[in-house]
């Protein structure tokens, strides 16, 4: 546990000692903020649900995925590139501790990045407060799916980063993989196969986001993202161990 916290702390602080961390947060907040403003002004003339105001923007999700690709790319690729992986993995720590610490550091970064977006909820609440009809449920389930998807893709990005010594390659692989699952639903029109269609619909993030941001807690999706996260982290441990038998 001590090792895990030490490693987590180092990785987390490293984000804020380079321009990358600040740049990512600023760009994410500016773009998702603009898109929120636009939706908010639209909601004056037409009825838009709370969940859609917060999580219904394609810009929000695009920036979210880009962010994940950028913050997971250094996790292992940078250590491999600079060689620090060697001092790290010859210290008395286990590969599992290293993987979990890095995952937790990236996930903590995402939480820090999302914290300011709570202000959007506050703004909507102020608008709704008089009507007394504000429901927190879609906000909570909405943030829940954001965190689930965040964990899932962070674990995926971490796995990609463990496969290469190039941060650019890691970010590209991560982004390709994320877009393919995120937009999986759209592939079904090309495939025309009933079984595949059902499967793709299950793993497509878009439907999950729509459900959760309307307050529907779909346990199947929860299981899917959590087990996916665990699978990717397990594979990342194996990928680190592969240095021993390759």
């Amino acid at each position: 546990m001590k090792n895990l916290l030490l490693l987590l702390r180092r990785q987390f602080l490293a984000y804020f000692r380079a321009p990358l961390g600040y740049a990512v947060i600023i760009v994410f907040l500016v773009i998702s903020g603009f898109s929120f403003c636009r939706l908010l002004s639209q909601s004056v003339t037409e009825q838009i649900q709370v969940g859609d105001l917060l999580f219904g923007s394609a810009y929000f999700w695009l920036m979210f995925l880009v962010t994940i690709a950028l913050i997971t790319m250094p996790l292992f690729a940078e250590e491999r590139h600079s060689g620090t992986i060697e001092t790290l993995l010859t210290a008395p720590v286990t590969d599992l501790q290293v993987v979990l610490a890095k995952f937790a550091a990236a996930f903590a970064f995402i939480i820090v990045m999302l914290l300011p977006t709570l202000a959007y909820t506050a703004i909507i609440y102020m608008f709704h407060a008089d009507a007394g009809q504000f429901s927190f449920r879609p906000v909570i389930t909405g943030y829940f799916i954001v965190l689930l998807i965040g964990a899932f893709y962070t674990a995926f990005g971490l796995l990609m980063s463990s496969l290469t010594a190039s941060m650019v390659v890691s970010a590209i692989l991560c982004f390709i993989g994320m877009s393919m699952t995120f937009l999986a639903e759209n592939l079904q029109y090309a495939l025309r196969n009933a079984w595949l269609e059902r499967m793709l619909a299950q793993i497509s993030s878009i439907q999950h986001i729509i459900d959760f941001s309307h307050g529907i807690l779909d346990s199947q999706a929860v299981v899917f993202y959590l087990s996916g996260t665990i699978l990717f982290l397990y594979l990342a441990v194996k990928s680190l161990e592969s240095r021993l038998w390759r």
């Binding site: 001590k2 090792n3 030490l6 490693l7 180092r10 490293a14 000692r17 380079a18 600079s82 060689g83 620090t84 992986i85 060697e86 001092t87 993995l89 010859t90 210290a91 008395p92 720590v93 286990t94 240095r243 021993l244 038998w245 390759r246």
Partner: protein
């Protein structure tokens, strides 16, 4: 049965990569307190060997035991006994020196209580007090090397593994680091790799020369230097009055240098004490017959007389190059 004196036991170590064989069935042992050098050109298998000892890579075949513990099976215990400085000294450039050393010390299970005192010790030893608060990325290569050494030392490991500790440094920095490594050799067992024969000569008691993943020679640096300088090296163990023997050997035709040292198990004999003489002579000189005659004439006992096989020149054109350079 565990031999208390042996800290590293490498047995038939082989490492194959998809690109070829890096280490090809090497075996050696390192005694506690010894300073061993691995010498060889680039691609000889030095780094791979050290990485396997440090537990970063696993061997394809054979085994490495540290203090009797297998480096793979007991990886965690073994890591605590080793201070490892990889080639090119990887560090986190965004951290401050103190912060980095603290991080590494805690990672290596140094207790908080011990930490402060130990940090002070390694900082004075490595000359890091002046830069303790500086950001690592802004410091020179020489300081990086010292930080790497300080990290390797921080948990007081018995065994230090240093991969090319002076590569890429300027002559001044090289001198400082060599002095430092020499000091460390008094308290720790050190295994270091280098491709400078002069460095091995200055630091190590024993040198293994690696080429294409095999050990091509293992001896004291002085013998190896002679071999590489295209000289014949004769080793003779003679029991007799040291000063007289020494002078007589020097007087033999073709002999250009004589070094004397105690032999293994140096007990007294009737003619005086035993000594092991290493003679340097010209390429075409072979004074072995003369040595025998000399001993017979004076009534000294001759226990061993051999010419070191010369097998290095071809394999070590590169090292020889360095030797010539270093000698100037």
């Amino acid at each position: 049965m565990k031999d208390k004196r042996i800290i590293i036991k490498v047995d038939n170590l082989t490492k194959r990569f998809s690109s070829g064989v890096a280490v090809d069935g090497i075996s050696f042992e390192v005694q506690r307190g010894e300073m061993l050098g691995l010498l060889g050109p680039n691609g000889a298998g030095k780094t791979t060997t050290l990485r396997i000892i440090a537990g970063y890579l696993a061997a394809t075949d054979g085994s490495v035991k540290i203090d009797g513990l297998d480096v793979l099976e007991r990886s965690h215990d073994v890591r605590k006994k080793i201070g490892y400085l990889p080639e090119h000294v990887p560090l986190y450039p965004e951290m401050r020196v103190d912060e980095y050393l603290q991080f590494r010390a805690r990672l290596k299970d140094l207790s908080r209580r011990r930490l402060r005192a130990r940090l002070d010790e390694v900082k004075s030893l490595c000359g890091l007090h002046k830069v303790a608060g500086r950001i690592i990325g802004r410091l020179s290569r020489g300081y990086h090397q010292r930080i790497g050494l300080a990290d390797a030392l921080i948990n007081e490991p018995e065994l230090l593994i240093l991969d090319e500790p002076t590569i890429g440094l300027d002559p001044n920095q090289i001198r400082t680091i060599r002095e430092l490594v020499k000091t460390l050799g008094q308290k720790h067992t050190v295994v270091l790799s280098t491709h400078y024969l002069s460095e091995a000569e200055m630091l190590c008691e024993r040198v293994l020369i690696l080429n294409h993943g095999r050990i091509v020679a293992s001896d004291s640096p002085s013998v190896l230097t002679g071999l590489l300088r295209n000289k014949n090296i004769i080793v003779a163990e003679i029991g007799g009055p040291h000063a007289e023997v020494s002078a007589a050997l020097r007087g033999l035709p073709g002999v250009t240098g004589v070094m004397a040292g105690p032999c293994a198990g140096a007990e007294n004999n009737s003619a005086g004490e035993w000594n092991c003489y290493t003679l340097e002579c010209g390429m075409d000189a072979d004074p072995r017959g003369d040595i025998f005659a000399l001993a017979a004439r004076h009534g000294w006992t001759l226990r061993e007389l051999k010419m070191e096989p010369r097998k290095l020149e071809d394999a070590f054109a590169e090292i020889t190059g360095h030797v010539e350079m270093d000698l100037k």
